[in-house]
C-alpha cells in the first residue's frame, strides 16, 4: 500500500528551488489539497514574481503569471469572469506584503471568494536576499548588513493580524512547515482554505512561515530551527479569523 507519493497535480519537472527551500514543500501541500478535493480540472493558480515565478511549470493546473504583487487582483479578475473555477494566488512576502500590499488588503477587504497562500520567509529570495517588510528586527540581510534597525525602517508587518481587522475575510490562519507537526497543520489549513472557496464562503488566507536557507546563509536543518526559535515567536501560529467559529 502506498502511504506517500508525489501528488498527481504536481508535474514531473524538477523544481528549481534551492536545497531545503520551503517553496517545494508548500507546492506539494497545495497540490495534495487540489488532489484530495478533486478540483484539478477547475483550478486556476496565479503565480507571483519571486522565487515561485515558475510555479506554472510545476502545478498541473491552469496558471496565470501576474506582475509583481498583483496576483490577488489577477485572481479577482479570473474568479469574477468564471466563478465556477477554484482560484488561488501563491505569493512571497516581498510580492504580497511590499509591492502588492494594496492588492492584498483590498482583495481581502472585498472578501473575494479566493484562496491566497502566502510564503513568509522574511527575505527577498529571488533577488538575492534583500530586507523584506517581514524581516525580523535585527535580521541581517543584503540591505540591512548591521541588522534590521526598527528605528529607521520600522517593524515587520504581521499580515495575518492586519487582515484579521477587516470585516470581510472568512478565514485567516498562520502555519509553518519546519517540522512534521507543523506540516500536518499546514496541510489541514491549506485544504480548508480551498474547501471554503468550493463552498462559496469567501476570502481564505494562509500564511506559511517558511525557510529560505540560501539567503539566510544557513543549512536547511538550521534554517528550520531558526524558524522555530526566531520566526514563530514573532509570527505566532494559529487561526486569526474563522467565520465558521462565529456561527
Amino acid at each position: 500500500m502506498i502511504v506517500f507519493d508525489k501528488p498527481k497535480c504536481l508535474k514531473d519537472a524538477p523544481m528549481h528551488y534551492c536545497p531545503g527551500c520551503a517553496h517545494g514543500l508548500v507546492h506539494r501541500i497545495v497540490a495534495q489539497a487540489v488532489d484530495e478535493l478533486d478540483i484539478q480540472d477547475k483550478t486556476i493558480g496565479v503565480a507571483p514574481v519571486g522565487c515561485a515565478v515558475f510555479a506554472y511549470n510545476y502545478f498541473d493546473v491552469d496558471m496565470v503569471e501576474a506582475s509583481h504583487g498583483r496576483a490577488p487582483a489577477v485572481a479577482t479578475g479570473v474568479k469574477r469572469a468564471d466563478p465556477s473555477r477554484i482560484v488561488f494566488a501563491y505569493q512571497g512576502d516581498g510580492d504580497l506584503a511590499s509591492i502588492g500590499m494594496t492588492e492584498t488588503v483590498h482583495t481581502a477587504a472585498r472578501g473575494e471568494n479566493l484562496t491566497v497562500i502566502f510564503i513568509n520567509n522574511a527575505i527577498y529570495g529571488m533577488t538575492g536576499g534583500q530586507m523584506a517588510p517581514t524581516s525580523l528586527p535585527g535580521q541581517i540581510t543584503q540591505t540591512s548588513p548591521y541588522g534590521r534597525d526598527v528605528n529607521t525602517v520600522g517593524y515587520p508587518v504581521k499580515v495575518c493580524e492586519l487582515l484579521a481587522t477587516l470585516e470581510a475575510p472568512y478565514y485567516i490562519e498562520r502555519v509553518a512547515v519546519n517540522s512534521v507537526k507543523n506540516v500536518r497543520r499546514a496541510e489541514k489549513a491549506i485544504r480548508k482554505a480551498f474547501q471554503n472557496q468550493i463552498e462559496g464562503k469567501g476570502y481564505s488566507f494562509v500564511e506559511v512561515v517558511a525557510a529560505c536557507p540560501t539567503n539566510w546563509k544557513m543549512k536547511p536543518v538550521d534554517a528550520n530551527r531558526w524558524v522555530e526559535e526566531q520566526m514563530i515567536p514573532y509570527y505566532p501560529l494559529g487561526v486569526f479569523k474563522d467565520k465558521d467559529e462565529q456561527k
Partner: protein, 68 residues
C-alpha cells in the same frame, strides 16, 4: 514494515528527511553524486522502516515514495 524509495536524481541533499526520520534510518550518501551533482539521501536495503512517511512529508522535492 514500511519501505521508502528515492527518486535520487531529484534529491538536492538538503538533509531534512535525515532529521525527520524518527528511527534515524536515512543518511546523505557522500559516496554518490546524482545527475544534479548533489549527494543524495539514501537508506539501507533492509532498513527497519515503520512507514510513518515523516521523511516524505518534509521533503521539498517529492523525492521519497513510502509504502507499507
Amino acid at each position: 514494515m514500511g519501505k521508502i524509495t528515492f527518486d535520487s536524481d531529484l534529491c538536492k541533499g538538503c538533509g531534512l528527511c535525515v532529521e525527520a526520520c524518527p528511527k534515524g534510518l536515512i543518511f546523505i550518501d557522500t559516496g554518490t553524486l546524482n545527475q544534479k551533482g548533489y549527494h543524495p539521501a539514501a537508506t539501507a536495503e533492509d532498513a527497519p522502516c515503520i512507514g510513518c512517511a515523516f521523511c516524505a512529508m518534509m521533503c521539498p522535492d517529492c523525492v521519497i515514495k513510502v509504502e507499507k
